[in-house]
């Protein structure tokens, strides 16, 4: 009720965004070629890269081609549009009408535009508009050409073993990567346009006979509810479609790796690919998914299991250690072994600041270093690492501003945070660590436990597209639990994760999915 207003997503109200000029209110295609050109010029504001090519026949305008030269491939335009029209007019076999135009334009995927609104949208999306004399038809010919990044290794999810194919910012390239790997007629691809001004193309990809239809339907519903002027990156979509807004935890999985998306599709999950973003979305996403990497499945299962355990333990340490350390140093030293207490006491006498301030300053210094190095060129990063990390750290210890133990704890925690294999999840833990830190400083050991339970309770209340965020542990789903700390060997992984309620539970068979416990 009261908290709902703040903690849960309210019913999404559409944000009204008005576009288009009044001239094009109805968008009828009527008048002469010049009238149409005039309307287009008015509506688009006569941009500098707009080219209008007219074809004259006996002094009259027989046809016109309108395109944006910055978006259209000139060679293709000449080859598929201009040359055929020229040739037709010169041969004078007939009057250039709608049926002739469709025949002579050799470019595939040409579409007839029934409305000037659509025509202008196409024009701005890299189509060339072909208008003929009687304006009975406007043909939009796709000739989009732009500079794009080649397929490279995913920067944020590097692996030692496995494919080096990461997504790039071109939707068609990303789709082709998936299509090339999953040659199944049931691989369904649906496209949507989101963003009133950017008209960003989104592809929803899933296995029609495996993915839960309720989840697919919900994906469509949530995407349709997005009302925004522009989508520039996947993060926009992720924020819109998440089940809960007031949470630091990512409720959808974003990845740059194509193999991860393919694996998710095979499990019965739904992929959302966004044009102009190398990060793509997988839903539903449970907390467990963020600790699994593609490599787990490429190495031997024993190695995969060991890596998963290291990741989980590393994350626990990264999040809880500052809180526990501070609580034990300041409020509950009796919980430490006597030898450690002696060591800590002797060190503390050399440091002028109280432990909370000392640790706070050290953490802040590391956060500053991290932020500074995150967006710096590689060669500057080296200087920041050596100068900031090593020299400054040692100088601070030698000057007696901070203790060696504190620096050790902070550095270890910062490093351990990166055990989380997902950037969004790592960011969540990064800030939650300070909640535990504050709780430990105020209420000691009890405070850390209380804050820990509070965070777990929050996580337990989260859902991703109807799937519990803590699954397969809460609720317990035995089949998936086995494949959580342990990477099940392939010869035992004959079932899809029941967590996502797939239509076919058996990877090869036709069993029905089962419900949560």
């Amino acid at each position: 009720m009261f908290f709902d207003k703040f903690l849960k997503s309210p019913k999404k109200k559409p944000i009204p965004i008005k576009i288009g000029s009044s001239v094009l209110k109805h968008g009828e295609i009527k008048g002469s070629i010049d009238d149409i050109i005039q309307v287009i010029l008015q509506s688009t504001g006569s941009p500098g890269d707009l080219v209008i090519r007219r074809f004259e026949d006996n002094g009259d305008t027989a046809a016109a081609v309108i395109y944006l030269e910055t978006l259209v491939d000139g060679n293709l335009l000449g080859q598929h549009v201009i040359e055929p029209i020229n040739k037709f007019i010169q041969e004078k076999t007939a009057v250039l009408g709608a049926s002739q135009l469709k025949l002579i334009i050799s470019a595939s995927k040409s579409v007839e535009v029934d409305n000037l609104h659509n025509g202008i949208e196409k024009l701005l999306s890299g189509y060339a508009l072909v208008i003929i004399g009687d304006v009975s038809i406007i043909l939009a010919v796709p000739l989009l050409s732009f500079a794009k990044r080649p397929i490279e290794e995913a920067v944020t999810e590097k692996t030692i073993k496995g494919p080096r194919e990461g997504f790039n910012e071109t939707l068609s390239d990303n789709i082709s990567m998936i299509r090339r790997s999953i040659k199944d007629p049931n691989l369904k691809l649906e496209k949507k346009i989101v963003g009133e001004r950017t008209k960003t193309e989104i592809a929803i990809i899933y296995l029609n006979d495996v993915a839960n239809p309720d989840i697919v339907q919900e994906v469509h519903k949530r995407l349709e509810q997005i009302k925004i002027d522009g989508i520039l990156e996947t993060g926009y979509i992720a924020e819109f479609i998440s089940d809960r807004r007031l949470t630091p935890f990512p409720l959808v999985q974003e990845t740059e790796r194509s193999d991860k998306v393919m694996s998710a599709i095979l499990e019965g999950r739904v992929a959302i690919l966004v044009d102009r973003s190398s990060f793509n979305i997988i839903v539903p996403a449970t907390s467990n998914e963020f600790y699994q990497t593609a490599e787990d499945f490429y190495f031997n299962w024993i190695t995969g299991t060991a890596l998963r355990l290291i990741r989980a333990i590393g994350t626990i340490i990264a999040v809880t250690l500052p809180g526990f350390y501070l609580s034990m140093v300041t409020i509950n030293p009796e919980l430490l072994p006597p030898s450690v207490v002696q060591l800590e006491a002797s060190v503390r006498t050399q440091v002028p600041f109280p432990a909370i301030l000392e640790m706070g300053i050290t953490f802040f210094a590391f956060e500053v270093l991290r932020e500074a190095s995150a967006r710096s060129p590689v060669n500057i990063n080296m200087i920041l690492g050596v100068g900031g990390g090593i020299v400054m750290g040692l100088a601070a210890i030698n000057a007696g501003l901070v203790s060696g133990i504190t620096v050790t704890v902070v550095v270890f925690c910062v490093l351990a945070t990166f055990c989380t294999s997902n950037l969004a999840k790592e960011q969540a833990w990064r800030w939650i660590r300070y909640v535990l830190f504050a709780a430990g400083a105020v209420f000691g050991f009890i405070g850390v436990i209380c804050a820990g339970v509070l965070i777990l309770a929050h996580m337990a209340s989260l859902k991703s597209f109807g799937v519990s965020y803590l699954a397969p542990w809460g609720p317990p789903i035995i089949v998936d639990m086995a494949d959580s700390p342990i990477r099940l060997p392939w010869w035992l992984s004959y079932r899809r994760p029941p967590t996502y309620r797939p239509q076919q539970e058996d990877r090869l068979g036709k069993n029905e999915g089962e419900d949560e416990a």
Binding site: M1, F2, F3, D4, S9, D214, I215, E218, D243, I331, N332, L335, P337, F443, G444, F445, I446, G447, I449, C450, G452, V453, L454, L456, A457, H458, M459, A460, S461, K463, F465, G466, S468, L470, W473, G474, P475, P476, D515, E516, A517
Partner: protein
């Protein structure tokens, strides 16, 4: 929004019951067993467990009679509107009493050990804040939390209790078969208190998705909690003997402190405390939810989320008053006996009335 499932499976029911029964029962039971029975105090818990099986049969029978209604909803059907409402209020008062007493004792005890310079009002505020948040998450959130923490807390508790047998001496738990008059039955009444939270099942039974597994699930969770508590009592008395146990205000912590892995882990005490506190907060959060949900159903206004907020100052005041006015341990012994009478009596009364008046079954299922 995707249609959410508002139900809990047997697995979730098992885990929330285990968390509540174990966490609220384990800390005081060695002391109570030693105080009322002596060296063979563990028999009291065994006897209490036998009685509990009967209680579970009654709980399940009532649940099957009214599968889609909570006790608050079907009490007016069974007893008439007025008496039903009154009984509902009494039932909730009992839950309220368990919540206040357990929260108070947990906060004070953990404060004594870990926050001895912090005033009790601040510790209460911290605990109650956490409990309110947990209760606010609703039955699904709470049960998922219980399920998530179960594996780790269970293993840590098991290891702590298991390794605490290192200094166990058989002589301390002797004479095993010594029946000293009515000591064991009376002790069983005192040791019945870990099973009080079982009556919360009456509130959550409608949420259970697989009702045919209800009895097995409740019995399973109770049995597991029983064995864990029994092992703690045996270990406690076995380590210190009954008079020795009475020297400590929190004997279980002393017992688990004795547990250690040479050269690896100096003491399991800390890990056990972490597990126990986590389970306790979850269990108490669950009781808080039951109370809020029950009041919402009884009054028929607002929903449980509102009542988690409305109840906050009331519970907080109760905890403070209890600390300032009465010696909690002293009244706890009376509460244990009255709670025993209430739990058994209330359930028997409702069940008998439902049978005599032929209420329940298909007619009242919806």
């Amino acid at each position: 929004m995707l249609k959410e499932k508002t139900g809990i499976g047997p697995g979730l029911l098992f885990m929330i019951l285990y968390a509540t029964l174990f966490s609220l029962g384990v800390m005081q039971s060695p002391y109570v067993a030693a105080e009322y029975i002596g060296n063979n105090g563990y028999w009291g818990l065994v006897l209490a467990f036998v009685l509990t099986v009967g209680l579970i049969i009654l709980l399940n029978s009532l649940g099957r009679k009214f599968p889609k209604k909570s006790i608050i909803q079907y009490l007016p059907v069974v007893c008439g509107t007025f008496l039903g409402k009154i009984l509902g209020l009494i039932y909730l008062t009992f839950i309220f009493a368990i919540l206040i007493l357990s929260s108070n004792m947990t906060a004070l005890q953990s404060g004594t050990y870990f926050l001895f310079r912090t005033p009790s009002w601040a510790i209460f505020l911290l605990y109650l804040g956490v409990l309110t948040y947990i209760a606010h998450q609703g039955i699904e959130g709470i049960t998922r939390l219980a399920a998530f923490i179960f594996p780790v807390t269970f293993i840590l508790s098991l290891m702590a209790i298991g390794f605490s047998f290192q200094s166990f001496e058989l002589d301390n738990i002797r004479p095993i078969f010594f029946i000293d008059g009515l000591k064991i039955p009376l002790g069983a009444v005192q040791l019945f208190y870990p099973f009080f939270p079982l009556i919360t099942v009456l509130m959550i039974y409608p949420y259970l998705t697989e009702k045919r597994k209800g009895f097995k699930t409740i019995l399973g969770a109770t049995t597991l909690a029983f064995f864990m508590i029994l092992a703690t009592i045996i270990s406690g008395i076995g380590n210190y003997s009954a008079p020795g146990v009475l020297r400590y205000s929190w004997p279980v912590i002393e017992v688990t402190r004795k547990a250690n892995l040479p050269f690896i882990l100096q003491s399991f005490g800390l890990f056990f405390t972490v597990s126990w506190l986590t389970l306790t907060l979850t269990g108490l959060g669950f009781l808080y939810y039951i109370l809020a949900e029950g009041i919402a159903q009884l009054l028929g206004v607002l929903n449980y989320k509102w009542f988690t907020l409305i109840l906050f100052p009331i519970i907080y005041s109760g905890m403070i008053l209890l600390t300032e006015i009465i010696e909690v341990r002293y009244i706890f012994s009376f509460f244990r006996v009255s709670g025993f009478v209430f739990t058994i009596g209330f359930l028997l009364f409702v069940w008998l009335l439902a049978v005599i008046r032929r209420r329940g079954g298909k007619k009242d299922a919806a």
